[in-house]
Subunit: 245 residues, 2 copies
DNA sequence: TTAATAAGACGCGAAATGGATATAAGGGTG
DNA sequence: CACCCTTATATCCATTTCGCGTCTTATTAA
């Protein structure tokens, strides 16, 4: 049977279809570390383990719409930067049924993250511990604010690892760092986000030069308040990035 | 209804489920240009347009296994570098039914590409024309060897565009370029691959330095044959990349 | 033997980077 | 109010990387 004949003769109604779900990685930077919001599973399988908030994709709903709906349902949130990550389709990834899961990550500034935690008390804050460097990749561990390990359900440790990997790769050519910051932020705060995602310390003058030369930042002239030392200037993301002058 | 209750009460059997397919972007570099293998659709919808080879995912088969099976069925090929690209889930992307498609790209050296074309005569070679630069992204156009436009079916122009975008991003930190070359290759051939993917000309001495310093190449001491001028040295990919000395 | 062609080596100035140091600007303290 | 403490911001310098032109080398064809 050739490929064309196969396609022609195939009737999707004849075959059993998998369920399709979206799982959401709600991420932020908390105390200089990458963090995510997890749910404690209260039934089998993986009872007591921690999972990502998710939901099934309806027949008349796009993947992005499903992710958006779950974001609203689980985190009481109607707008956030989110992006499709990867689709997990191992046959036995969920022992209950064949469920293919499309992973999404959503990036939240710390203030929105706290709001989500307040609005949805079933969510738990987890610090992500990345046991590898650079672009190596692999699973990550989750840890509670008290430092206890939070064992992850299903293949969610891999999803979280892939999210970190993706963030590292996109950090310096995309705007993902800005999605993790409030509208106005200092260069130090931006550097903290970069360091938290990359897991390494960066050189301050070099970072500052790189960011300002990239032409994606706009100085506001305003300064932060409340510091008991010299206040830093506040920047915002520039809508139309300009070439360096 | 809280998120947890939603999950608990949800029975996947109650809801209509979408079909899940994989679509394969079989790519290579032909005449210094990125190229892909397409199928001409001989029925509605999009009759006469050109599509990516694909197939449905069986209930007891992982996504990777489905991609591998389609690769074997459509391109008569049992091993190739392939990687999941993105999952396309717009509700109306296929007017026949709700089909969520997981896009994969497979990278083939030119020789394997020609074999695939011979072994599967229903496949057509298409040059990819990328109408944007750098990391902009967007759809791409396909063109036959004779230069005629090959209009693409469904959302396949977007899939091809995303594949180019992904390749550009991964080019210098991953081994994707090697998957497009035979085991032994010259530095010029490696540069040609980079230039074809990036769509820009690169500086020769700088490229050479960068590649050799990266420690991912191994000189064989052998030289290419058949050239009517100075033959270039042949290199191979080094298994265990070493730091630069 | 010579011409043609492309590989590969070398060198130089520009640009980017890492790191240290100096100066500025706030609030807190006496 | 003078001084101190802390962090932001600016400047400088050495090192590395990068772009780019040029020179030499290896091979075939004439």
């Amino acid at each position: 049977m050739t490929g064309v004949e196969f396609l022609r003769s195939y009737d999707p109604e004849e075959y059993e279809r998998p369920s399709v779900a979206v799982d959401l990685i709600l991420m932020s930077i908390v105390h200089g570390k990458p963090a995510a919001l997890l749910l404690r599973r209260d039934e089998h399988p993986d009872l007591g383990r921690w999972s990502l908030p998710g939901g099934f994709v309806a027949i008349d709903e796009s993947l992005d719409a499903a992710a958006s709906r779950v974001l609203a349902a689980k985190a009481r949130m109607t707008d956030a930067y989110f992006e499709q990550l990867y689709t997990f389709g191992a046959v036995d990834r969920d022992p209950r049924a064949r469920i293919i899961s499309v992973g999404y990550f959503a990036l939240l500034p710390p203030a929105r993250f706290s709001e989500a935690l307040k609005g949805a008390p079933e969510l738990t804050l987890a610090e992500l511990v990345v046991p590898w460097e650079g672009e190596t990749g692999g699973a990550v561990k989750a840890r509670s604010a008290e430092g206890d390990a939070l064992p992850l359900a299903f293949d969610h440790a891999d999803m979280l690892g892939l999210a970190i990997l993706r963030l590292r790769g996109k950090l310096d050519y995309s705007g993902v760092a800005f999605a993790l910051l409030p509208e106005l932020f200092t260069l130090r705060a931006l550097q903290d986000v970069h360091e938290a995602i990359l897991g390494v310390r960066l050189n301050k003058p070099a970072f500052r030069r790189r960011m300002l030369d990239a032409g994606r930042l706009e100085a506001t002239g305003e300064r932060e308040t409340g510091a008991s030392f010299r206040p830093a200037e506040l920047y915002r993301r520039r809508k139309n990035p300009q070439a360096k002058e």
